[in-house]
Amino acid sequence: MLRTSDRWLDLLGLATLILIVSGLYMAFMYAQTEVNMGLVYRIFFFHFGSIAAGMVAVLVVGIASIGYLRTGARAWDRVAEASAEIGVVFSTIGLITGSIWARPIWGAWWTWDPRLTTFLIMWLIYIAYLMLRASARDDPRVARFAAVFGIVGVINIPIVIMSARIWRGISPVLFQQTAEQQFTFGLTPEMFQTLVVCIVAHLVLFAWLLAHRTRLEALRDELVALRRARAR
C-alpha cells in the first residue's frame, strides 16, 4: 500500500536534490561577494534556508497538534512527531551556522539579540517536546500529551517574540534593524534570487523529509499491528 506513493516521494527527492545543488551553485558562484563581510556571508543562504524550514516545521507541529486533538486521527499525530523531529534538526543547523557566521562578523559566537533569544527558546521547547515523546513512548496517551504540549509551545512563540523584544528595550511594534536585517535589505538582485532558491530548496527538502519521517511512523504502526495480530 505504500508502494504507490513511493514514486511521488522519489520525484520529490529528485526535485530536492536539484534545488539544493542549484542553491549551492548560486550561493558560491552566482551571488557576488558581499563587500563588508567577505566570503563568510555565503553561509547566510543555507543558514536562512534552515531557519525558514525550522519555522515552518514548528507551525506544522502546532497545526497537526490541533488537528489531532480535534479529530483524534493517528495521521495528525504522525505528522506532528515527524515535523518536530525534522524541525529540531533544521533549527540546530540554523543555530550553529548562525553562530559560526556571527563569530567573524559580530566578533562573538552569541549575542542576546531578540531574534536569537526567541529562536533559542523555541529550540528548547521542541527539544522538550521530543523528550516528552521519548519518555512516554509506551503510554497510549502519548499522542494526546504531545499534542497538548505542541499547542502550548506554538502559542507561546508570539509571546516569547514580544517579550524578547521588550527585554532588549525595543518597542514590540516597530521593526528594529539588526546587522542581519540591514544586510537583507541591501541585497543585490543576484543575492536575492539566490536566497529565494535556497529557501525554496530547504522547504522542499523539509517536505521530502517530512513525508519520509511520517511514513516511518506508518511502518511502525504496521509492525505493531502485525505483532498484535500474531499474538492473538
Binding site: V152, V160, S163
Partner: protein, 223 residues
C-alpha cells in the same frame, strides 16, 4: 453553580490532605530558604545593589521551589490511586483543572508569603508591598496554571520528576522575564509607565495559558 461547588470540593480536598501532613509545604519552604542562602554565597550579595539582582534571586527561589510543589500535585495522587477515584466521579474536567490550579496557586503563594519577608530580612531591603505583591500574585497565577497542566502530563511519563522542569521552564520564560522585570521595577521604585509593557505581557500570558490549560486539561487526564 454546580461547577463552582466542584471546584471548591477539589480545593478543599487538596488543602485538607496538605494540612494533615504538611509535607509539601514544608519541603517547598525549606527549599526556597536554601535557594536564598545559596544565592547569597554564589553571588556574594553583600555590597551589590540588591534591588538589581534581588528580583532574579527571588524568582529563582519561587519557581524552583514552586516546581517541587507542582511535581507532587499529581504524583501523590498517582501513587495513592486517588486520581482514578476523582476521574471516575462525575466531576467536570474543567472544574478539576481549576480546583487543582487554585490549590497549587495557594501552596506556592503561601511559600512566597514566607520567602519574601525572609528575603527582606536577610538582604536588608525595604519591600514596597503595594506594587510588588500584586505582581508576584499575578506571576504565580500563570505559573500555577501552566504548571498544573504540565504536571498532569509529566506525572504520567517515566521520568516524571525530571520531565516537569524540562517542560515547564522553557514555556514559562516570557512569564519569568516579565515577573523579574516587574519585581526589580518595584524594588527600585520605578514609575509604572516604565514597566507597563511587562505588566501587559504578564496579563496576556496569564489569560492565554489559563484558557489553553483549561481547554486542554481534559485530553491529558482522560484514560
Amino acid at each position: 453553580m454546580k461547577f463552582l461547588r466542584q471546584v471548591y470540593a477539589i480545593v478543599q480536598k487538596d488543602l485538607a490532605a496538605e494540612l494533615r501532613t504538611k509535607e509539601n509545604l514544608s519541603a517547598m519552604l525549606v527549599f526556597s530558604l536554601l535557594v536564598l542562602v545559596i544565592f547569597n554565597f554564589a553571588f556574594e550579595l553583600q555590597g551589590v545593589d540588591i534591588t538589581v539582582l534581588g528580583s532574579g534571586v527571588l524568582w529563582v527561589a519561587f519557581t524552583f521551589s514552586g516546581i517541587l510543589g507542582l511535581g507532587r500535585s499529581f504524583a501523590a495522587e498517582k501513587d495513592k490511586g486517588s486520581l482514578e477515584g476523582v476521574l471516575l466521579s462525575p466531576v467536570d474536567r474543567g472544574a478539576m483543572f481549576l480546583g487543582k490550579a487554585i490549590s497549587n496557586w495557594l501552596f506556592i503563594t503561601v511559600m512566597e508569603a514566607v520567602t519574601l519577608p525572609l528575603f527582606a530580612v536577610l538582604n536588608n531591603v525595604a519591600i514596597p508591598w503595594f506594587p510588588l505583591v500584586p505582581y508576584i500574585v499575578m506571576g504565580t497565577i500563570g505559573f500555577a496554571a501552566m504548571g498544573t497542566l504540565l504536571s498532569a502530563v509529566a506525572s504520567s511519563t517515566k521520568m516524571r520528576e525530571v520531565m516537569l522542569p524540562i517542560l515547564l521552564f522553557p514555556v514559562s520564560i516570557p512569564l519569568l522575564m516579565a515577573a523579574v522585570k516587574l519585581t526589580s521595577g518595584a524594588l527600585q521604585g520605578r514609575e509604572f509607565a516604565d514597566i507597563s509593557n511587562w505588566f501587559n505581557i504578564l496579563i496576556v500570558y496569564d489569560v492565554i495559558f489559563l484558557v489553553v490549560a483549561f481547554w486542554t486539561f481534559e485530553y491529558v487526564v482522560e484514560e
